[in-house]
């Protein structure tokens, strides 16, 4: 069990002894990411300082057949950075330099440990910013964003991480270094950059990322509107889109989420209302103003009970702080909760939310909803108390909600990823053929399965299939194969 002393020395020689954590107590701090329900203690944690060191470390892994897991800030909510037993964690936290900001070509070259928000901070003096904005943008790293193809509130208008990453330098599972994509956004041959984006660390480790920067919009208008029902707020979303308006963001929160967010940041949300929408428009001032009027009218038409327009950048920031802190803030109103992530067609939002409310009532549990309404990406939070023995009921409810999303013609995950958490649910959405193709792609990049094994793709061991009574395979029965 465990990696040998010789292997540890080899890592220490490749990096430096201070950059290798082997003490079991220290390693335990890395045993889980943002999803604490799954824990595995890694044998070693490596903290390289340069891209070259990452490649060297991976080469040592390849040589000895050691599985490795890349980790950024450890904020993922699907267990994507869960360590592997007898494996190593490669932390990219020390690769945090912004290497270049090229305002003329509107690009930035960054290391993977740079946080999402740091890119925008580095670009801001040039009137530029990095568009995808996960709620955890102040802490999550761009490397993790690439792995998860992260979304965020403003992805409705601007697209996801994959739409803003031009190229990535990748250390493959054998330790070789390749660049996928190109700085111009054009490339020959198959779209390997696109394949890599969102592969959840199973195809390699990024060590350098070239991102696209956008011009900071001339005008940004933000409103916060309260509604007497979730259905009314949902109808506003549909009508806004039907009117040909593409808002920068449309976010919805329900009573419980509002209560938690308001308690955390005092941003001026109305506690007690059934639903609140945050609608943001950006672009040229004239266009913004005209569309903002339209949005206001649509809100009023659907019985909006209060319309608060952010009058200053500070007020706008406060509204967003409330929305972005909502997940973690739910910790204030419930001892425990499950975070769910699913997608439904926008037109069925109200219907799905109604069903979720019914399911919650049946289970006797509260469900808080906070989500990217514009693209139908739900984040139901199932609140429970482990101390009161509600865990099992809550887990079941949360699972049923995800299945409901698939049933409604949606998807298992919008942006948190499959990771460890939902790997076993993949067959609910994909056929065996689909999964076989995915496995072959993964095998082409990493034939030995050393790179973040056990994530995304279901395996019998992972998904709880126990060796049971012998059942003859159909091919055995038909005499094509025989078991020895």
């Amino acid at each position: 069990m465990g990696l040998s002393y010789a292997v540890r020395r080899e890592f220490e020689y490749t990096l430096s002894p201070q950059d290798v954590i082997s003490d079991p107590v220290r390693c335990r701090a890395y045993e889980c990411d943002g999803l604490t329900g799954y824990r595995v203690i890694p044998d070693l944690v490596l903290l390289p300082r340069t891209a070259e060191q990452v490649a060297s470390a991976v080469r040592v892994c390849a040589e000895h057949g050691i599985p490795f897991v890349a980790r950024g800030a450890g904020t993922g909510l699907s267990g994507g950075a869960l360590p592997v037993a007898d494996g190593v964690v490669i932390s990219l936290a020390r690769l945090k330099r912004v290497l270049e900001v090229d305002p003329v070509n509107r690009r930035a070259v960054v290391e993977p440990g740079v946080t999402n928000l740091e890119i925008t901070k580095a670009a801001a003096p040039h009137g530029l910013y990095y568009a995808p904005d996960p709620s955890s943008q102040q802490v999550c790293t761009i490397g993790g964003n690439v792995a998860e193809n992260s979304g965020g509130a403003h992805c409705l208008k601007y697209g996801f991480t994959t739409n803003h990453v031009l190229s990535v330098e990748v250390v493959l599972a054998d330790g070789s270094v390749v660049t996928l994509g190109s700085d111009t956004g054009e490339q020959l041959g198959p779209d390997l950059r696109g394949t890599f984006l969102g592969s959840e660390g199973t195809l390699g480790i990024t060590t350098k990322i070239t991102v696209r920067l956008l011009r900071t919009p001339e005008s940004v208008r933000t409103l916060l509107a309260d509604f007497p029902s979730i259905a009314a707020a949902g109808d506003v979303v549909s009508d806004v889109v039907a009117a040909g308006i593409v808002p920068a963001a449309v976010e919805m929160m329900d009573t419980l989420a509002i209560e938690a967010a308001e308690e955390a940041v005092h941003a001026g949300y109305t506690v007690g209302v059934p639903a609140a929408l945050v609608v943001e428009l950006d672009g040229p001032t004239e266009e913004c103003d005209v569309q903002f009027e339209q949005v206001k009218q649509i809100c009023e038409r659907h019985g909006c009970t209060r319309l608060h327009i952010a009058g200053s950048p500070e007020e706008r920031a406060a509204i967003w702080r409330g929305r972005k802190a909502a997940f973690a803030a739910v910790g204030r109103i419930s001892p425990d909760y499950f975070v769910q992530d699913g997608v439904v067609p926008r037109t069925r939002l109200a219907e799905v939310l109604d069903r979720i409310a019914g399911m919650g009532a049946d289970a006797g549990l509260r469900v808080a909803n906070v989500f990217h309404a514009g693209d139908g990406n739900l984040h139901p939070l199932v609140l429970y108390s482990a101390a009161a023995g509600e865990t099992e009921r809550a887990e079941k409810l949360s699972g049923e909600i995800a299945e409901l999303c698939v049933e409604m013609g949606g998807s298992l995950s919008g942006e948190h990823g499959i990771g460890t958490d939902k790997a076993c649910s993949m067959p609910k959405m994909f056929t065996e053929d689909d999964l076989a193709v995915m496995r072959r792609v993964r095998g082409a990049f990493d034939p030995r399965g050393l790179c973040n094994p056990g994530k995304v793709l279901p395996t019998p061991r992972l998904c709880g299939e126990r060796p049971g009574k012998y059942k003859p395979h159909p091919l055995e029965e038909s005499g094509v194969i025989e078991r020895l």
Binding site: G74, S91, A93, T115, V139, R332, F338, Y384, A386, G399
Partner: protein
């Protein structure tokens, strides 16, 4: 299909008896508040420096939880990572879940002091610090050779010798503020009447380090409060409030000092007990919580804490009264961690500074990041403190201020050390004092 993201605590099984002793261990409910979201990482100075999970608030809370579940021992890595925390409480500000890391650290540090033997050298160094700093008289005695030494240091041979001091001693040496023997021994008047109609009466904590090394700040504080209409009492015989010891986990001596301070102040006919030191204010506001389990003191401590105010809170409470002369220039305000993060006093010092005509107030980039002073931290962990100090100095220079102000002696010393002498470094009340009196702002 989904697993709990709601709580780190409830997921960890209790595998053995807690590694903490029974005297105020970290409360399981407080540990359970952490949802492991990581929002604290970017504001944590040690995570910024080293990028290691164990040296982040989330990691430290996780280790506390493991210790509480009996999974890991207190000695070794656990103590190392808790020791490495500056106690700046930036994580408390950043946390969306309302985790009370301040309370957790406050209960864990004494556990370490009680249960983990320190290496002889480390123990001796800490003992020396606490045998000197909280004592005004000893500090004054130390100030004499200090002043002499600072003159001697101008001699090249002496400064060469100083450069050969080992790390921690070198850190102490280089922090030594310019010592004025006259200031070190000067006292404050016991009673200073309000100018004009009286608004109220306050009692001032003159402090230990503050009164010896930053006596001018105390003088300015008394003058400003009086000018703004407050009678100022400075009780004789008052001693250190215990903040340095409290923040280092030396609970028993800290509690003794807390009781003594309460006894010195509680009988005074004053509406507020005022301090101009961020660290002292945060510990004095904690007395009520610290002594809550002591039946003889709980009520007295709570009553005392309720009356504690930072000087800026008092000054910002009413409209400015004394007329101000303009002070023209860019003034950078540095939020001392124990004022901004621990006491959440951010707006008041800014309001006080804005009341001075001509002041152009600027904020620092990375304002939430500690300067590395952190009580005794820059003496016990000089390398980390130096990196943070240099980073703070760079951030200060980036806004090209004419003067920088902050409300904590530790920050003044630490930033001064890394910034050099070209930018005057003052307590905000010194600036206000100069404005009210119409005199040039002092250089120190």
């Amino acid at each position: 299909m989904t697993t709990p993201a709601g709580s780190a605590e409830t997921n960890l099984p209790q595998t053995g008896p807690s590694s903490f002793d029974e005297r105020r261990p970290p409360e399981p409910e407080l540990l359970a508040d952490c949802v492991h979201c990581g929002f604290c990482l970017p504001t944590c100075p040690t995570y910024q420096l080293w990028g290691e999970e164990m040296d982040s608030p989330r990691g430290r809370i996780y280790l506390m939880d493991l210790a509480s579940k009996g999974e890991i021992a207190l000695d070794g890595p656990f103590t190392e990572h808790i020791d490495a925390c500056l106690g700046c409480m930036a994580c408390v500000t950043a946390c969306p879940s309302g985790v009370q890391y301040d309370r957790l650290l406050e209960s864990v540090r004494p556990q370490i002091e009680r249960n983990v033997p320190r290496e002889p050298g480390d123990a001796l160094f800490r003992k020396a610090i606490f045998a000197l700093f909280p004592y005004r008289r000893r500090l004054r005695l130390a100030a004499l050779p200090g002043a002499l030494y600072q003159r001697l240091r101008r001699i090249p041979a002496v400064s060469r010798m100083a450069s050969k001091l080992p790390g921690r001693l070198a850190a102490m040496e280089s922090l030594l503020p310019p010592v004025s023997v006259r200031d070190a021994f000067a006292g404050l008047p016991v009673h200073t009447p309000a100018a004009g109609q009286r608004r109220g009466r306050v009692a001032l904590l003159s402090g230990c380090v503050q009164d010896v090394f930053f006596h001018r700040v105390n003088v300015a504080t008394v003058r400003v409060l009086a000018a703004e209409g407050y009678d100022v009492l400075v009780p004789r015989g008052q001693q250190c409030c215990g903040a340095l010891e409290l923040h280092a986990g030396r609970e028993d001596p800290a509690l003794t000092r807390a009781k003594r301070t309460i006894a010195d102040f509680e009988g005074l006919a004053a509406e507020y007990f005022v301090t101009n030191v961020a660290g002292c204010g945060s510990s004095m506001k904690e007395y009520g919580h610290l002594l809550a389990d002591d039946p003889a003191w709980a009520e007295r401590a709570a009553a005392f804490s309720a009356k504690v105010r930072d000087v800026h809170e008092v000054l910002a409470e009413g409209e400015p009264r004394a007329s101000r002369h303009p002070v023209r220039g860019r003034v950078a305000y540095h939020d001392a961690c124990h004022l901004g993060h621990a006491q959440k006093v951010r707006a008041q010092p800014r309001a006080v500074l804005r009341s001075i005509p001509g002041v152009e107030l600027v904020d620092l980039p990375e304002a939430e990041l500690c300067c590395g002073s952190a009580g005794i931290y820059n003496m016990i962990a000089p390398d980390a403190a130096a990196e943070l100090g240099a980073r703070k100095a760079e951030n200060v220079r980036s806004v090209t201020p004419d003067v920088i102000v902050t409300a904590n002696p530790g920050c003044l010393l630490q930033i001064g050390k890394h910034l050099g002498k070209d930018i005057p470094l003052l307590h905000p009340v010194q600036l206000l004092d100069a404005s009210i009196r119409g005199v040039p702002i002092p250089r120190t």
